[in-house]
Symmetry: C2
Subunit: 329 residues, 2 copies
């Protein structure tokens, strides 16, 4: 029996700090759902903080202050914790360093909650087997759609349904660019410049605009929600860099718009990310940085869910809901 749930946070950037903040600020409400908890370890590239009795507010709020030298892997091997929140930067080719972190945590019998797509894209079925063998859970609501519920929605709220297909807008940066091209009749490069200025696009936007991020999410959706066993290379990918204002003009004349759609379909066997025509009145025709997904099922038919695909608080929402799912009384 766990008396106090011991939490390790691995990765202490925007997401890690955001989660720590919510765990501190909403302690009473969350403890009502899962019982007492305490953050015992925080790890980042440059150092670690560990206290088996729980780290104080100061350490968690002020990154750095009380961090001592030490490696994340050492903490994973030696510290005692019940659940690791793995939120290091993602690498979808090798999955590292998250893959090592998650594997070792599961191996030692700790639950894992992650926002890190890479490890799941590279080794989903291996990690699931590891979790099952060690009788712990691997949760990853935050990997797809940020604050938008999708993983638990399909697995639990639509439990009993067969999932025929899932398709939608899985990348807020692309959706921002496309919806600005639509409304302002600007070129791709004009909007990209604007998006970089606003911090919506990275200095090197390749990962988003070439459809790589969306494809990683397609892999997770296919494996986790449609019980497939696919890899990144199985996904046909086309990004948004070649879309012209003229293409929008033609689409808009017929009351359509263009959106980057990721799609997994059992019926058609389709696994792809590509720009698609969407009726402006279709629920997937969302604007700005929103994400939107349509789930086609046998009993409930079509379900659409729309929400924010990124952001510190939004991602924390997904991670906290996973934590409550694992431990709720």
């Amino acid at each position: 029996m766990i008396t106090v749930i011991k939490i390790a946070i691995i990765g202490f950037g925007v997401i890690g700090r955001g989660v720590a903040e919510v765990l501190l600020e909403k302690k009473e409400e969350i403890q009502n759902r899962i019982g007492e908890y305490s953050i015992v370890a925080v790890c980042e590239k440059d150092g670690v903080a560990y206290n088996p009795d729980g780290l104080g507010w100061e350490v968690l709020k002020m990154k750095g202050g009380d961090f001592s030298e030490g490696s994340t892997v050492d903490i994973i091997e030696t510290a005692e914790f019940d659940v690791a929140i793995e939120v290091t930067p993602t690498d979808i080719k090798k999955g590292e360093p998250g893959l090592t972190h998650i594997s070792e945590c599961l191996e030692k019998g700790s639950h894992v909650i992650t926002s890190n797509k890479g490890p799941l894209v590279v080794a989903y079925s291996k990690l699931q087997e590891l979790a099952e063998r060690n009788e712990v859970q691997l949760m990853f609501e935050a990997t797809v759609g940020g604050g938008m519920p999708l993983i638990k929605l399909v697995r639990n709220d639509l439990a009993g349904n067969e999932i025929d297909s899932i398709r939608g807008i899985l990348n807020g940066t692309c959706n921002y660019i496309l919806s600005r091209m639509e409304s302002e009749k600007l070129t791709y490069n004009q909007v990209l410049t604007e998006a970089k200025e606003l911090g919506i696009a990275e200095a090197d936007p390749t990962y988003d605009v070439e459809g790589i991020d969306s494809a990683a999410k397609v892999v997770i959706i296919a494996n986790a929600l449609l019980n497939m066993d696919i890899t990144y290379d199985d996904v046909e990918i086309e990004g948004i860099t070649a879309i012209t204002p003229e293409a929008f003009e033609v689409a808009m004349e017929r009351d359509y718009t263009i959106r980057l759609i990721g799609e997994v379909s059992r019926e058609t066997g389709s696994l792809k990310v590509s720009p698609r025509l969407i009726s402006t009145h279709h629920p997937l025709a969302v604007t700005g940085t929103l994400n939107a997904v349509q789930i086609r099922t046998d009993l409930a038919k079509d379900i659409v869910v729309i929400g924010r695909g990124a952001g510190q608080k939004e991602t924390s929402s997904a991670i906290i809901s996973d934590l409550i799912e694992i431990f709720r009384k």
Copy 2:
């Protein structure tokens, strides 16, 4: 320890038969999630069928055949079951007969899953207390939005969030009428006649078009998801019968449409059902018999979910997901 989950179905109309069918047809998949189960009792107004070893396919498929005289209340008192699926017709004034059924099932220590709004509108907090006292669960995903996930989505997938407001389209009949008035420029009465012919509106459509059904759902949302303690009389209600084609014309000129919106807001204290102007590009501007709800939260911000608010399979989806939620391994 439960070895075989014993299920009683109370009410054997369209919904009850639909649930029985799914429980039979998807037995293998559902048993993978919750373990072995068997339908031991089916009750309806005119008779009951009970077999502690499980009722056969024939009884469940062919209503009537093997039903013997007997009362539902007798079955509830004497039969052994772990969960009752209460799907009798709803009466939102008195809540009966569902209120008696649900109370007695909870009292005897059986979980209850219901699609019946009446008992929850009349006595939500009393029923929840009864469930807690008897250490069983009262589940009611099917009461709001049919196949559209909402109750578990808010409670579990958005766990950790504070819910500021929930508003949306909670009645498919009204939405059908309004979206046809919009697209075909017909009068309310013309579309109502069409809707009756198609079986979308009842011969007496009062319950839907006067906003009563939506208001019942507002009461359930407020009490179950925003921890309020309100009754039907607290909801300000205006239906759709007075909406004219001219009103649509004025709205459409400004790229708006009219929808019947149910709203619970902690911020504004608003508890109401009324026709509202909605931008045609807003995700809530769904057409046909769809339901759509926007949930405003502190962490995940705005989440929208869209789905089918009624239908035999759709409602079964909600009930089966509740069953899996209670018993999942």
